[in-house]
Subunit: 191 residues, 2 copies
């Protein structure tokens, strides 16, 4: 029901929508209040400050990320438990849900100057690389040339590569096909 919604939830929904559309730097509490059809002062009543509200939105975004990725990994565990699903997940998400990456990269600029935001992002990266590491550890076929590196190092490499390619693609004005192709190349390299 849309009538049983408490304002706290309405505000969070509106805030997430505003942030995803206009970015952290370009939204005001008045924007969010208007979007949520709620008095401006209610944002402070429920969340105390703009920063705390932003942190709640980020928790939500991070939850979306991890749940969706784990769903994709789990789904594959019936077939083969390798990491190609990670690449597929990223590729599909890039095409179908680009806003997710926009919010992530937008958050990054906050994390550059704020320890609390940086900590939240670090937790996300730790979690994601942990999921990837499990895939590597459970995989039977490890390429010889990677034997010199630990699975934790490799998982960081894969996470970084995937994020970087997504970064490149999200910020490319021409939507260069080579960038998406390089995700396939990644999949081949790490079988």
């Amino acid at each position: 029901m849309s009538s049983k919604t408490n304002q706290s939830e309405l505000i969070l929904d509106a805030a997430y929508k505003c942030v995803s559309e206009k970015g952290y730097a370009n939204i005001s509490l008045r924007d969010i209040a208007k979007e949520a059809n709620v008095a401006l002062s209610q944002l402070h009543y429920y969340f105390g400050s703009k920063k705390k509200l932003l942190q709640e939105i980020i928790k939500r975004m991070i939850g979306k990320y991890t749940i969706e990725l784990e769903k994709q990994i789990k789904k594959s565990q019936s077939d083969k438990k390798d990491i190609s699903n990670v690449f597929n997940f990223i590729k599909e998400a890039l095409e179908r849900n680009p806003e997710l990456f926009k919010i992530l990269f937008d958050l990054s600029s906050l994390a550059l100057r704020s320890d609390s935001f940086k900590l939240m992002l670090s937790d996300l990266f730790d979690h994601l690389s942990g999921v990837i590491k499990e895939c590597i550890d459970e995989s039977s076929s490890i390429v010889d040339e990677f034997k010199d590196f630990s699975s934790s190092t490799l998982s960081r490499l894969i996470l970084g590569s995937v994020l970087g390619v997504a970064f490149e693609y999200t910020l490319d004005a021409n939507k260069n096909e080579d960038i998406l192709d390089s995700l396939d190349a990644l999949s081949v390299i790490f079988q």
Copy 2:
């Protein structure tokens, strides 16, 4: 000489310093004017608007990037002309000049919502991947498993991986060693 400086240059220097210290989102024209010891109104006299001033700073940052990277590549061309220098360049820059990456990732959040900034960043990425592509094309030893992909795809992959790992490292709260190690792994993979 510090007395022969015209205000236009003073302002640019101050703006670059302010942006690199506090980020695009957290600087005001008054900050820059104070840093440059110049009247606030002079910023508009020389640059017209805050956006135009930011664009000048970004041009400068991009110039720094490309010049330094090409210097590193050229330096190596006397020895072997492979791309390991790219990885070394990134690794050294991450440790010695982390602000460079902060400014880059900070700019990215601007580019997410502004076509003009996005275009500037795309040009930078095109240029960087072009440099990498040259390294690949001139390299005699191409690993077999990469034969299926064009050098332009591979160059995009390498650029993305390098950027992504730098992204991971810059935003990691714990300065995880695995992340820097993964740059070495990259170097091994692409010899």
